[in-house]
Symmetry: C2
Subunit: 368 residues, 2 copies
């Protein structure tokens, strides 16, 4: 089976690494000359909307998937006319617009933070009245990792932020005073079977994920499973799906979903029976899914900006290093480190050995 | 770090897969056009004794290693003059000749089966007197997977087998009535630190490994560790080293060692904290070793000859499939399947789901 992948970044790279032992070959389409997946598989260098490139990808592949959700709708639709696209164009479309996404959650009975549609500057004032200050404003499309997001602290901010947004449609959201940031990741196969991974508990800073912890047996597990099963079914989803959640006093509020493998699931390579990458490939290839149960407790630390020297990380004999082959650059995700242990206590001790990888402001958030 | 590897078969392929996440690139030298490691890394197509090819390998790599022990001595020596060779030419040489190898074991106080050097046909008669019938005759060099081996059942066989061996120097060995076939695998770094994996218990048929089981906490663990630590130290070894042992009534008899990653250690990918492939790369790169402790219980089934359809294997949600990208051919190792579990009992149940992968004659040997 050959799987075509729109995007040749680190997610594509880890898909390719998972594919080789399964006999699943990958072929990537990416506009970048230095796409970090390219040493692992064939790649086609083309723009996301290049009709010839997309046609070549569809021709080489038995099924096409993607590693990022901002694939142009027309490109997805073109591919879907040429070969199988998994997950389908509908799953891509449903997550493209933050307002539509929130409305979908509501329709499925999945709780969210309160929100207000922002079509013009007057709506920002209305948002302040309805949501209170501070609140968040996000562009409805094309945002990721905190980009295109603003925080409105008071009525005095409204004019400035209204100007920054301009005529782009946006959404204002209640700033959730959450206790925990969680994500839940599921795989769904062509026959509709769904397997859900243990929850991830996540720490972000500056809008970028820093640390994820597996939470096997978490008290929020049942509620999170219900949310993602409902969403996966509604979207007739095939592949791996991730849903970000806030836990506020034991109530889960859905933030957004990603129709792809997810940074908060990288720990599944060592910390689950089958990794999210392998299960995504198995699902889109039409194969049975692998077990998603936890293997002990796991933590993943993102390496952002520049890389430590490998021996400095590997001095911790339980660290598993994953470099993506990307040039260091401020704010860029260039790798991650996973640690596993048989118990949460042992995990905390091992993470302590790797505290130097964390920004000082993140260290207090290490589990104990 | 770039690691040059003599040999681009499945062991090289799994080294390359382990290298990518560590930022360790591999470059292979192999005479075959279809070397199965080549989709994973650069490769140089050349004969084992091709001076230009070996020079190119040494030029491209920071350190050179090998995935098979029958590297010509002159090739190893040439590479060692051009760059670092890890493990060194001495480790290669020590295992090249079965008679020298047995004598080395004896010198280190490691027990072996009784043996007799065979230089001419008269020695075969002497072997019968000393060892009793049946006994084994093996060529002193270049044998693997049961090739170049003969069983002498009675004095009537001597003339025929003497003719088959001809003038090749050989060794006659007592046929050990063993209770178990074991192997022990260790990694040794440049500073001389040694980490030993849990024992593997192995089942062979027709001289080819069929099944390996991890045996964390086995009663023979201390004795096996002592053997391999002594051997690794004697050889001033750097990298992963495997030692095959017979367990006869609780006494370990060394059969042979392999100066490389080993088929009976493939379960370490899922069944140990750090795989043998990753630790070999870490050692030869001069980096610290990763922990070798078991992760639960593991079993590995070799896929020999032809491959099952992947979905048939993956229907067992705990099976991890490793195909090597090789064309099926009778007797050829084309992949393996690993299963892990928290307990030996759970492992046996999961292995039961995969019994169809085993020859009927092997099925009774599944653990219970």
């Amino acid at each position: 089976v050959i799987v075509g992948i729109l995007g040749g970044g680190q997610l594509g790279r880890m898909l390719a690494l998972a594919g080789h032992p399964l006999g699943i070959g990958c072929v990537f389409l990416d506009p970048a000359a230095d796409a970090c997946a390219s040493p692992l598989a064939r790649s086609i260098r083309a723009r996301w909307d290049d009709v010839d490139g997309l046609g070549e990808l569809a021709r080489q592949a038995d099924v096409v998937t993607f590693e990022f959700e901002n694939v142009p709708a027309a490109s997805a639709e073109l591919v879907a006319t040429l070969t199988r696209l998994r997950p389908g164009a509908r799953a891509l479309a449903a997550g493209r617009d933050r307002l539509d996404e929130k409305r979908l959650f509501r329709r499925l009975g999945i709780a969210t933070a309160r929100f207000v549609a922002i079509d013009d500057a007057a709506d920002l004032d209305r948002a302040g009245d309805e949501l209170g200050f501070p609140y968040l404003v996000k562009s409805r499309t094309l945002g990721y990792d905190g980009k295109g997001q603003y925080r409105v602290d008071s009525a005095a901010d409204v004019a400035r932020i209204g100007a920054a947004i301009g005529s782009r449609p946006a959404i204002a959201e209640e700033l959730v005073a959450f206790d925990r940031e969680l994500s839940v990741i599921a795989a769904r196969d062509e026959a509709g079977h769904v397997l859900v991974y243990p929850l991830s508990e996540n720490r972000h800073r500056d809008g970028i994920l820093r640390l994820s912890l597996s939470r096997p047996g978490d008290r929020a597990d049942d509620a999170a499973q219900a949310c993602i099963r409902s969403l996966a079914s509604e979207l007739d989803y095939v592949g791996v799906l991730a849903l970000e959640l806030f836990d506020r006093g034991g109530t889960l509020l859905a933030n957004e979903f990603a129709p792809r493998v997810h940074n908060s699931g990288h720990w599944t390579i060592e910390g689950a029976q089958t990794s999210q990458f392998e299960n995504h490939l198995r699902a889109v290839a039409g194969w049975p899914l692998g077990a998603t149960a936890a293997r002990g407790h796991a933590a993943m630390i993102n390496l952002i900006g520049d890389a430590p020297r490998p021996p400095d990380v590997l001095r911790c004999g339980h660290a598993r290093l994953h470099l993506y082959g990307k040039e260091p650059r401020p704010g860029r995700k260039i790798g991650h480190v996973t640690v596993t242990a048989d118990s949460a206590g042992e995990l905390a001790a091992r993470l302590g050995e790797l505290a130097f990888l964390l920004d000082p402001t993140d260290r207090p958030s290490l589990p104990v």
